[in-house]
Subunit: 343 residues, 2 copies
């Protein structure tokens, strides 16, 4: 499976779109906002730049894609007013894989820019320039020494490919407690290769003194097969797919060759890759926990099983369609909804 050519969050603004099923992702961005603000404040204070290039890697489409950007612009505008400097020109680079729905983001830009101007209440703020950059962040995306600030939220848990030689991970589609020991090992190696490649590429692209805030799903435990948020999400999907298998809707060979290119590293795994790669120093490295059920209640959605099914569907549908075809999709996610109360 060519993950870079296949994976994309569900497009548009319909019921099963990523846009309508990424409230949790927005909550996560809000949680990390104080860290983002601190990083941008440090960057601005140390350089007072007359131009500033900000990249958001794995921006997807929908409500969240421009949320951080607008917050970052407001932070910069506050800082430059306080310091009495002229407003810097800001270039915003929105990156995701080539299958991402960039058209929807681009069409929303005129009204986004209008709203932003009215919120800034300053006639001499900006100008702001926006680009879409299609491509995998496990390769070079930008010119040498061209980025000042880099943000990526809820993207770096996606691997560049399904780890190799895990054909024996039968009936599972991820690292599960019943996976053979080579499976979590292969997943970890793939994460190491991918994350260090990511760091190497960004080291070439960032200016000296630039700042990077990366947020991704991780695990609390050092044991990768221990049930946690991400594991239980894929466990739900595995149950639904095994249900399809038992009904003869998919065949064994297809089931056994499907695995999710996703990895949730522990804090120590992240740290050791950054230290080993050597290009970046760590200002802050933190683990935060979010209780999905509590959050969904807060967000006032009564049907948690429906949310769970839609949120998995919004991110994983493209992978499933590319492997199994689109005939089983409705059945799979109806089954995911039913299975929710079983785990």
């Amino acid at each position: 499976m060519e993950v870079g050519q296949v994976l994309h969050m569900n497009a548009g603004t319909g019921e099963t779109s990523y846009s309508n099923n990424s409230h949790l992702q927005k909550k996560v961005i809000s949680m990390t906002m104080p860290i983002i603000e601190e990083a941008m404040t440090n960057l601005y204070s140390s350089t007072s730049p007359s131009s500033l290039v900000i990249a958001d890697l794995g921006c997807s489409s929908g409500h969240n894609s421009l949320f951080v950007v607008s917050e970052l612009i407001k932070i910069v505008e506050k800082l430059r007013q306080k310091s009495g400097h002229q407003s810097p020109e800001i270039q915003v680079l929105l990156n995701d894989l080539p299958g991402n729905d960039f058209n929807t983001i681009f069409k929303s830009l005129p009204s986004f820019q209008k709203n932003l101007s009215s919120q800034l209440e300053s006639k001499d703020a900006g100008p702001y320039f926006f680009s879409g950059v299609p491509g995998s962040f496990y390769g070079r995306l930008f010119m040498r020494k061209s980025l000042h600030f880099l943000h990526s939220s809820y993207s770096l848990h996606w691997l560049s490919q399904v780890p190799e030689q895990i054909e024996n991970n039968k009936r599972n589609i991820y690292m599960a407690s019943t996976s053979p020991p080579n499976v979590p090992k292969a997943y970890h190696s793939q994460f190491q290769r991918d994350f260090s490649t990511f760091l190497k590429c960004r080291a070439e692209e960032m200016v000296t003194g630039g700042r990077m805030v990366l947020t991704f799903m991780g695990r609390k435990s050092e044991d990768p097969t221990k049930k946690d948020g991400s594991n239980s999400m894929w466990e739900l999907l595995a149950m639904a797919l095994n249900d399809m298998l038992s009904k003869g809707l998919i065949n064994e060979e297809k089931m056994d060759s499907f695995n999710i290119p996703h990895y949730t590293p522990s804090l120590s795994e992240v740290k050791s890759e950054i230290v080993e790669e050597g290009s970046f120093s760590i200002d802050r490295l933190e683990f935060s926990e979010i209780n999905r059920s509590t959050y969904y209640k807060e967000y006032n959605h009564s049907n948690i099983s429906e949310i769970a099914a839609n949120s998995i569907r919004a991110v994983a549908e493209s992978l499933l369609v590319s492997h199994f075809g689109d005939g089983i999709i409705e059945k799979v996610f109806s089954s995911v909804g039913h299975a929710y109360f079983l785990i």
Copy 2:
């Protein structure tokens, strides 16, 4: 009508798409290639850059959108091999209005890059980075002093808006021989404002010594109402719309308030704006003629009326739908096809 939010070439790759109805535009690009090559050769020879930023303004989608880019990259690669320099990093910025079908271009990039590499036959060529830049080129699009080479083909004949105060241009939708004298005057003023704004914005964005190649539809005659290629295209469409009016399918008020935001300047009009604005010097200013019917025969399409209808549809459908709704589109272009042999 907000042209910037409405106008876009027909998306996708279907029968009425711009992609399938822009062969003439490709022919035009081929005709201008010697000029493009000369401009890039001058730029490279005078600066031997280690990084190079190329922008294509009004790129649209389909076959042509990356054609010039690939030619430009090949020219640079040839020059740098000849000079023995290292390959520069090249950033390609693809611009069009926010409604353009960027998704289709982005999805084609992986195979485009693969083909390009195989054509270059040099392992150390590149790297090449691609971005989409949504927005009107009658405003700033890029950071200050960031562009080295700018290309725009078959776009600058689109105005930023329909000229004001031409409500008396009844039954016409463009400058026609029966238009009142204020109509061509208003069109010309709008062109002057738009083209000088374009030049001012680009002057801020381009590096000193950068090169720009602009190709657009123009007229041979100094008289703007004289029938030529572009006039006869809109005359065909006007006949079809008047046919809809006589059949009661559109109303008079709608017909009279519809005008095409398009202007074909003469060579002297182009020259005088460039000289007056003052930021750029002219290396070459040329008029070339292309006989559409001869070209279509060359390109081996037997049904010229169908080509004419589809080529107008591919560029004007978005404007018509936004003004008249989509109910009349099929009828209008069937009528355009029939009218072809009448003018």
